[in-house]
Amino acid sequence: MQLLTSSIGRKIVMAITGQAMVLFAVIHLLGNSSIFGWLNGGINAYAEHLHSLPLPIIIGFRLALLALVCIHIWFGIQLTIENRGGRPRQYAVKSTQKATFASENMIWTGSLLGLFLVYHLLHFTFQVTSPETAALKNLVPLHDQMVPNVLGMVVAGFQNFFIAFIYAGAMVVLFLHLSHGIQSFFQTMGWSCDKSQPIIVKLGTLVALVLFLGYVTIPLTIFAGILKG
């Protein structure tokens, strides 16, 4: 299987898994944005809607996401180790011109995102880091039933400076990772040419920026006291 063993093959797998996660990030952001109240019942209603999906779908979806993350990380580490050996000694003078901070530090931004992901899951999904505000333990009425108070949990979390800072910082890292990752996807899949490539680079950065702004708005507005529970 040249797709799983060769340099280009593994990069294609990296590109596809990465891009699938970008898609997830877009949908996740759309869902999260319900916190601003465009959905009747806000983010609590959105969360309840997700939880009311059949269990096999939820589990399947989570496993699929987990697989994407694992494959992406596995090949990422493997390729990076190989690449570090590609040039055994660095030049005395560094004079890179097109490589960016983002492109040169994908392994580090990726690692930070991985760590953040663990924290984020512990914080909001498994709700073990701040048990006193855990949504599952604090039910609130929505329409005519009691549902977990996700809004309360989020607001309580982001009112804490450190937590808000971690989230905002993670989004900066996400921006860096995606600003290289999105355009890279098109190059690796071979879906770019000399004319489209500069446009793809700009569009990729734009999408990364939109995701960054979208995500970072939540902790910032809460911490600033604009968005309240």
Binding site: G9, G86, Y91, A92, S95, Q97, S103, F186
Partner: protein
Amino acid sequence: MSDHHKTMTLTLIVWRQKGPNDPGKFETYTAKGITEHHSFLEMLDVVNEDLIKSGKEPICFDHDCREGICGMCSQVINGAPHGGQDRTTVCQLHMRKFKDGDTIYIEPWRARAFPIIKDLVVDRSALDTIVQAGAYVSCHTGGVPDGNAILIPKPAADESMDAAECVGCGACVAGCPNGAAMLFTGAKVSQFAVLPQGKPEAAARVKNLVDAMASCGFGNCTNHYECQVACPKGINVKFIARMNREFLKAQFV
């Protein structure tokens, strides 16, 4: 022409390495009496003449045609393969790009796949190995159709020519932080992939070339595009994209 008699003095910090197993180190030299019309290699000639006269070993460097086409010259100057001037090989780089008193670092191509032979001379036979893996049309000598029997649309001929401009110097590998040969190989794959003559073997070619890259010890592409900057012939990274595309296509035929 006006500064014909003005000369420069430069400090060179040059990588010296006796052989493949020697650790190597930087040595400092002074280049005197250099005019703006000296080419970079002619400047090194001057330094070497001085070294020989004082009984020291001259700096070894690869060079041959000195007109930017044979691809033999290979030096990293201040961190940039071929010195960083747009579309220029070291042999075509002229000293008018430098100022009196400048300090210049000169190093060999650095990549796992290019072991150092001596000083600035490296072994680039890995590039030949990639070509031998299939960067050709397997036609026989004689027994081929008339040149005009195969019509090739001008855009395809031009695209192929853009890829074929590669001089095989290896600057793309030297410039790549991963020591990857993707631009070189991409250019080879593309040159033939766009031509009708190259189509029958396109799938096998790309697969074999990609395998050859790995077995030669080249790194992988991380889309920094430093290779395109380093390339003295301006080969575009679109050819890497095309190779990726051809590779993907080849998995399904």
